[in-house]
Point group: C2
Chain length 197, copies 2
DNA sequence: TAAGGTATGTCAGTCGCAGACATAAGAGAT
DNA sequence: ATCTCTTATGTCTGCGACTGACATACCTTA
């Protein structure tokens, strides 16, 4: 495919195309809105057909939700080698803190993406689904460490609430630090559940 | 529409049709699966056209998520007239307990519905969206009572996690009591942060 | 150079959903 | 009784999301 004017065949890796799809999609979504942008337009912008787009992404929403596996792997890794002594909720927050660099690295992509999601119901649904899946993964990881099912499930959901909230706040405020938001959320959770603080 | 053999015109209220849509949909979804059932089939089973179906429900999923407003109103009502002294999380659990009768009244509908959702990703997404919306409503209600934004948001999410979890467990186990699941969840979230219990 | 794998294009089809317009039934006014 | 106004429904048409089937051109490797 795609021949240069010199006749040299460009070997495009799949990853390359994936990223170009994502960039093109975010671009078009920002300009015209998610609903008003068709999959065919995204594909055209990248120079392929709509059919190819759907070979890379299960559906139109998914083009904005790709990094999730990497997030999961990173968090699960952190949990796996956390000190035994840590209580479940602390284990999670430790993982969140450790994830900070990767979060900051993707900030320039994540910020406009989040703004888009915040004004697009269809994308909010997908985001909630991803968060929920992540939460399930965290819960499973906690169970591996010996936490019982109910506690693991609720801890994971509470942790993810805090993580998601902190991340969004951080993206909204350019001059802020993610860690501060994590801490704020953690303190807040303590106050919610512990009477005398 | 729909004339009896005596020529008497039946005045069908909108509510009537709505419920028939819901029953027909649940029926077909159980038999053939959500994806394999078309909106046209649901409409046909009720005796109207597909177009009418979409005048009653914004989309195909929505037919299974109708009662949400009533749930919201009930919970918001409970929160509004809760004793001032209650802490936010207790306010929510009080509301959940008060909601018990309505929950039990709809059990026969809710149980197969939940099973269906649990095996259908598209429906899970919608359910998460509804839960999230409910959580936002609860948070707003707490803020009205003077709880600050962050605490209200996280409390609502924690509460909803517990509520959703308890409800699902209760539906799974025929011989159980919702209240017990609420209590279990409440004890569990306390243990998450309080060491000596 | 031949052969086999893989990414893409092409085509046709289904389904979810929405706009526009027609029609028929019931409610109220005269 | 008749007329009108409103409202629920049917009908028709079209778009966009997605999918299966098949063709084709590339890239690799023998």
């Amino acid at each position: 495919m795609s021949v240069t004017d010199k006749g040299v065949y460009l070997a495009k890796t799949s990853d390359d195309l994936r990223e170009r799809f994502q960039a093109a999609a975010l671009d078009l979504f920002q300009q015209y809105g998610y609903e008003q942008t068709t999959a065919a337009q995204i594909a055209a912008k990248v120079g392929v057909t709509e059919r190819t787009f759907f070979r890379y992404f299960a559906d139109k929403r998914e083009v904005l939700f790709d990094g999730e596996e990497r997030v999961r792997e990173a968090l699960l890794g952190s949990i796996a080698d956390a000190p035994e002594a840590l209580r479940p909720i602390q284990t999670l927050f430790r993982a969140f803190h450790a994830f900070r660099p990767e979060l900051e690295a993707r900030r320039f992509y994540a910020k406009p993406r989040q703004e888009l999601i915040s004004i697009t119901p269809a994308l909010q649904e997908r985001e909630l689904a991803k968060i929920s899946a992540l939460s399930d993964a965290l819960a499973a990881a906690l169970q591996v460490r010996g936490v019982e099912t109910l506690e693991a499930t609720l801890t994971a959901q509470i942790g993810m609430s805090a993580f998601a909230h902190a991340t969004i706040k951080w993206l909204e405020d350019d001059s802020s630090d993610v860690d501060e938001w994590f801490d704020l959320a953690y303190q807040s959770i303590r106050r919610i559940l512990v009477d005398n603080e």
